[in-house]
């Protein structure tokens, strides 16, 4: 068995794919597992104990050649692509797991003639397709983040459905890495018993960065609260952020920008007491190294989806109405410094105590925390990561919907329901909220439930129409009649889409159904009609499941109240 895992995005994404790789190893102990990554992910992939081969996908050089508009460089790009395809072909992979959204990656796998692809791939007629329930969820969840409660590690980790998911990120460190990291601290006078707080000031986008001034204020608080020694970590290009930090800071920090390799950074974080960070690759390295993470989530990020994987981490975020879509940049630059240093300190305290207490502790609400949300991570009984509220507050309707949605997806995507386990999950989450009252819960359940009921009814109409279409095609009915039936189906789809626009909670289901329709392969009308019927059936099942989970969530919440 030869397996290829394709993860050609960022370094942090490679780490987030590490649970999938481990799951594959558990499922196929003797398989040859190769991972294709960009150069920035090479070291991470090499340090995964379950990886046999790392293939570097040097897309940056290829892109620069293409962008140059130079004939000789285009020829070189062509030759590079040709040799990359040949090299993948010669790898004789039986299956590829494509954890990348791009059409280019799907094309590459098609050109390499890999017989089976999970995730993004191309049909024989070169249409972009997704295979598998979890991959479809992976691709659609980014468009409706308000209702997604699952971490990417849990989603992609289940691309291999038959293996037990791994609950950790995988990154091997050596004694040498640890020695180097400890020596690095020692030469700067940081002893074994010092409280080390690492700060990661940078992020891939400016709008994702908490300001250096705020970091500097937090450093003062950390020094006061923990007598912390402050270490600035990051790549060499982030050094100017460190200089800006120092201009604002009243405590001296140790700048280590570009001074460590990735494994040395991981070893440093393993030694550290906490990492305060924006949404970055360093955050995932810390999570892999077991360092408590205090994530200051600003800008265009969704910590539930991409936050630190593992128990006991904390995220602090400015309260906001909607999370938006991951593929559309929000103008969040003005919000970068809204979270105060004192509020971030709460996140640090929660993360530090989370490691010490190995449980979810809630803190008292206070006016100082009124405009932020704080969450602490833990693994729910369903095995997936959960961000539990760290302050006991009244539940909002969007929380209620998200919790029910999670239960639905776990049941639907996992293909089975364990009512007791589900109950434990729901209760574990609901206990972190106070209220609302029973009447409000009932109202939410009825209001949203009826919308999902209507959606289920529309799906049922779709099933009837496709049944008629299948019957008509089966008996060789007239083409005119079939066209009329297809037109009715299209009108129904449009009605459902508009319905979801009016009832936003239904959008994830409509989106999923649309993706499934886009994924239909081949040109045989009868087969297409049958598969379309299956899609309506699945949509109806999911709508009814959400309805059921809403009712159950409301009932359990009411019991708790």
């Amino acid at each position: 068995m030869r397996i290829l895992v394709v993860q050609t995005t960022r370094m942090g994404d490679v780490l987030q794919t590490s649970p999938l790789i481990h799951a594959l190893r558990v499922r196929h102990p003797k398989a040859h597992i190769a991972v294709m990554v960009r150069r920035m992910g090479k070291t991470i992939a090499e340090r995964h104990p379950d990886v046999n081969e790392v293939i570097v996908y040097d897309e940056d050089t290829l892109f620069l050649d293409l962008q140059s508009g130079d004939s000789d460089r285009l020829l070189r790009a062509y030759e590079t692509a040709e040799s990359r395809i040949a090299s993948l072909k010669s790898g004789n992979f039986n299956i590829a797991y494509n954890v990348t959204h791009s059409i280019a990656s799907a094309m590459l796998l098609k050109l390499a003639e890999i017989p089976e692809v999970v995730g993004a791939h191309l049909s024989d007629d070169w249409q972009f397709l997704l295979r598998g329930r979890w991959p479809a969820y992976f691709f659609t969840s980014v468009f409706s983040r308000d209702y997604n409660d699952l971490n990417l590690c849990d989603i992609t980790g289940r691309f291999e459905a038959s293996a037990a998911p791994s609950r950790e990120l995988h990154l091997c460190l050596t004694d040498e890495d640890r020695t180097t990291a400890h020596q690095l601290l020692a030469v700067h006078g940081i002893g074994e018993n010092d409280f080390v707080a690492c700060l990661q000031l940078g992020a891939s986008e400016e709008n994702k960065r908490w300001t250096e001034q705020r970091f500097a204020e937090l450093a003062r608080l950390l020094a006061d609260r923990f007598q912390a020694r402050i270490v600035l970590v990051g790549i060499a290009e982030e050094a100017p952020l460190g200089e800006s930090f120092q201009r604002h800071a009243s405590v001296k920090a140790l700048p280590l920008f570009g001074k460590t390799s990735i494994p040395q950074l991981a070893a440093l974080l393993e030694r550290a007491n906490v990492l305060v960070t924006n949404d970055t690759g360093t955050m995932h390295i810390a999570a892999a190294a077991g360092c408590p993470v205090a994530l200051v989530s600003v800008g265009h990020v969704h910590y539930r989806e991409t936050g630190p994987y593992g128990a006991g981490h904390c995220a602090v975020e400015w309260r906001r109405e909607s999370l938006g879509r991951s593929d559309v940049l929000a103008d969040a630059a003005g919000n970068r410094d809204k979270i105060t240093a004192e509020q971030a300190l709460c996140a640090v305290e929660l993360a530090v105590s989370g490691k010490e207490n190995s449980g979810i502790t809630q803190i008292e609400d206070s006016p100082d925390l009124a405009d932020v949300d704080l969450y602490v991570t833990g693994f729910a009984p369903d095995g997936c990561l959960q961000f539990y509220p760290a302050i006991c507050r009244e539940m909002l309707e969007r929380d209620f919907l998200r919790i029910a949605y999670r239960a639905m997806w776990i049941a639907y995507l996992g293909g089975q329901t364990n009512p007791e386990l589900e109950k434990d999950c729901l209760l574990a989450m609901l206990r972190h909220f106070s209220g609302p009252d029973a009447a409000t819960l009932a109202q939410w359940s009825v209001d949203s439930g009826s919308a999902f009921g209507e959606l289920a009814a529309m799906a049922a109409t779709g099933i009837e129409l496709t049944n008629a279409l299948v019957a008509s095609l089966d008996r060789g009915g007239s083409l005119v009649q079939a066209k009329q039936q297809v037109a009715e189906l299209m009108a129904l789809d449009e009605r459902a889409r508009v319905f979801a626009e009016v009832h936003p909670p239904c959008r994830p289901l409509i989106l999923m159904a649309r993706f499934e329709r886009d994924n239909l392969e081949g040109a045989d009308p009868l087969r297409l009609a049958r598969e379309t019927r299956t899609i309506y059936d699945a949509c109806r099942t999911r709508a009814m499941l959400v309805q059921e989970k809403l009712e159950r969530t409301a009932r359990l919440a009411e019991e708790l109240v």
Partner: protein, 590 residues
């Protein structure tokens, strides 16, 4: 130029050069002393070579032309780093000393002598990928001017037959606007890849913002703001196109810092001042800012450009575009509209009005604007309007004699100081028209007055010539034919474009080489270097050979949706997606 080892025998036969002395350095390695100057470090020449190569910032993808060999330490360092290398060494004595010290084993090309030693097939093959230059500083110091001359020669040989990328920035309006179009077409005809930044799209807005506002302060400010905006727009377009050369036409709305910003991108800039310097003085500010400054008035102006600090300037005359300036056949209706004995098409400057008032006893027709005189009122066709090139060609075709008179606001007749030849001279000639013109200074360098383009010095002489040539239609036709042949052969914008390029490459070719040329080959040229039976070769054979082998060029022929795309088409489709994805990620800032 030939492989270094092939020089061994020839150099061995040469007597030692008394001025060249090989001495042992303090670190043990040899160095050379030439005329009391050391060509390498006395302590650690190999380490010095490493530092020199490091500091050169060379791209590993392009070959290196080394100017100055010395004992070859730096050449060896470059070869060790995997560069393809050719060397030009000015001194046979130094080359002999290097070979005596073991340089014969250097796996590179070598030419010995002046810049002309580069010529030949070996160097042409070497520069198939444009090389980068590595100047050995002690050699350059020892031979003043050698490095510059050799770099210019290398650039000329490397870039002469290459398709370059050239941006041309035009004005919003006015006489230099059609010249922008002609120049762009000409560079294209020469095989270059062009971008015309066409500011005419902003003309209506500019006019509304300036002439449309009565408050002069407000309209001035708006005009400035729009110019600033257009300058940014021009910069963004040119920067995105990434040309080797950017040529700006007179009156283009770019700010003075425009060329400096392009220079930071390694783009060579040129300005074509197709204006009379006596009428417009903004050249004083602009001419030192551009790498090359082209103008249309030789003589006095050139001295003034020197004084103004202009580094490289050249006289480049306007011309004709034979595809557009060509004879046309008139319909009967056109014949009625355009047929006449004498015509003039252009603006009614003072001297023209005064002269043409003395021709009203002929069948005279005038086109264009600013003809307010009562005496000429009945002669103006189509009433005070500008005319396009198609109309101009009909005017030329319909007139027995096309009058030309260089404009002057000061003179009442022929301007004896005129030295800015107007484009009309070349355009009428190329269109096969018979023309009588005033003898603008320098015109005799472009046409023979006795056989191609007869001239007049005053109204009386003009009338005599008109009388003679109206009576001698065969002679008119012969003059016109010869002038047409001359114009098309010598005075096309294609020739002007070549002239500009030669000048730019001579003075700034090394800059282009340093930055690296975006190589543009046609599919046919790429095919020559490919196995025709390879997947790529087989597919490229199905494409028109003159299509540019760029992603944009070949993607137009990729049809992934069809039943059986070829393997090469699939790869190009994949490459298209790679670029799309990366550009999307970049636009999202990820």
């Amino acid at each position: 130029m030939k492989p270094a080892r092939d020089w061994a025998q020839e150099l061995a036969l040469l007597p030692p050069d008394a001025t060249v002395e090989r001495i042992q350095g303090r670190g043990g390695a040899d160095t050379l002393r030439v005329d009391d100057a050391l060509l390498h470090s006395r302590y650690n020449p190999a380490e010095e070579a490493r530092r020199l190569v490091d500091a050169a910032g060379l791209s590993p993808e392009r070959p290196v032309l080394v100017l100055g060999m010395g004992l070859g330490y730096h050449v060896r360092e470059l070869l060790d780093r995997g560069f393809k290398v050719a060397v030009l060494e000015p001194s046979f004595g130094v080359a002999k000393a290097a070979f005596d010290a073991g340089a014969a084993d250097l796996d590179c090309l070598l030419a010995i002598g002046g810049p002309d030693a580069l010529e030949g097939e070996a160097f042409q093959a070497f520069v198939r990928t444009p090389p980068q230059l590595f100047v050995h500083p002690p050699t350059a110091r020892l031979h003043p001017g050698f490095a510059e001359a050799a770099a210019a020669q290398a650039a000329k040989l490397s870039l002469a037959k290459r398709h370059l990328n050239i941006a041309i920035v035009g004005p919003l309006y006015g006489g230099s606007l059609p010249i922008t179009d002609y120049l762009t077409r000409s560079f294209q005809k020469l095989g270059h890849h062009t971008l015309q930044v066409d500011n005419r799209v902003a003309w209506d807005l500019y006019r509304e913002s300036t002439e449309g506002i009565k408050d002069q302060h407000a309209s001035g400010q708006l005009g400035q703001m729009l110019t600033q905006f257009l300058s940014e727009w021009c910069y963004a377009r040119v920067a995105e196109f990434k040309p080797e050369i950017c040529i700006v036409l007179a009156q283009a709305p770019v700010l003075p810092q425009f060329p400096a910003r392009l220079a930071k991108l390694g783009i060579v800039t040129a300005y074509w001042f197709v204006e009379n310097w006596r009428h417009m003085d903004y050249w004083k500010t602009l001419c030192p800012l551009y790498d090359c400054f082209f103008h249309i008035q030789p003589g006095e102006f050139e001295g003034m450009l020197d004084t103004a600090g202009c580094r490289h300037h050249a006289f480049v005359q306007t011309g004709c575009e034979p595809d557009l300036h060509r004879p046309v056949t008139l319909s009967k209706a056109d014949q009625k509209d355009y047929g006449c004995a004498l015509s003039f098409a252009g603006a009614g400057y003072n001297n023209r009005r005064q002269v043409f008032k003395g021709l009203t006893d002929y069948d005279l027709k005038l086109w264009g604007v600013n003809w307010p005189d009562r005496e000429l009122a009945g002669r103006v066709v189509d009433g005070e309007r500008r005319f396009d090139n198609d109309t101009f060609m009909k005017i030329v075709a319909g007139s027995k004699i096309n009058l030309n008179l260089h404009a002057s606001t000061a003179a009442d007749g022929v301007d004896t100081l005129a030295d800015a030849i107007n484009p009309r001279v070349f355009e009428i000639a190329a269109a096969g028209g018979f023309q009588l013109c005033d003898p603008c200074a320098g015109l005799d360098q472009h046409f023979d007055f006795d056989s191609e383009l007869p001239v007049y010095h005053n109204l009386q002489e003009l009338r005599e010539r008109i009388g003679y040539f109206l009576d001698h239609p065969e002679e008119r036709a012969e003059f016109a034919k010869r002038a047409q042949e001359r114009a098309v052969r010598d005075h096309s914008y294609e020739r002007r474009a070549e002239q500009m390029l030669d000048f730019i490459l001579e003075h700034h070719g090394a800059t282009i080489l340093r930055r690296g040329v975006r190589v543009q080959r046609t599919v046919g040229e790429v095919l020559e270097a490919l196995d025709p039976d390879s997947e790529l070769g087989a597919w490229l054979k199905t494409l028109p050979p003159d299509v540019l082998f760029t992603q944009e060029g070949v993607n137009a022929f990729v049809r992934p949706g069809r039943a059986q795309p070829t393997p090469a088409e699939k790869v190009f489709h994949y490459l298209h997606e790679v670029r799309e994805f990366a550009e999307t990620m970049l636009s999202l800032g990820r």
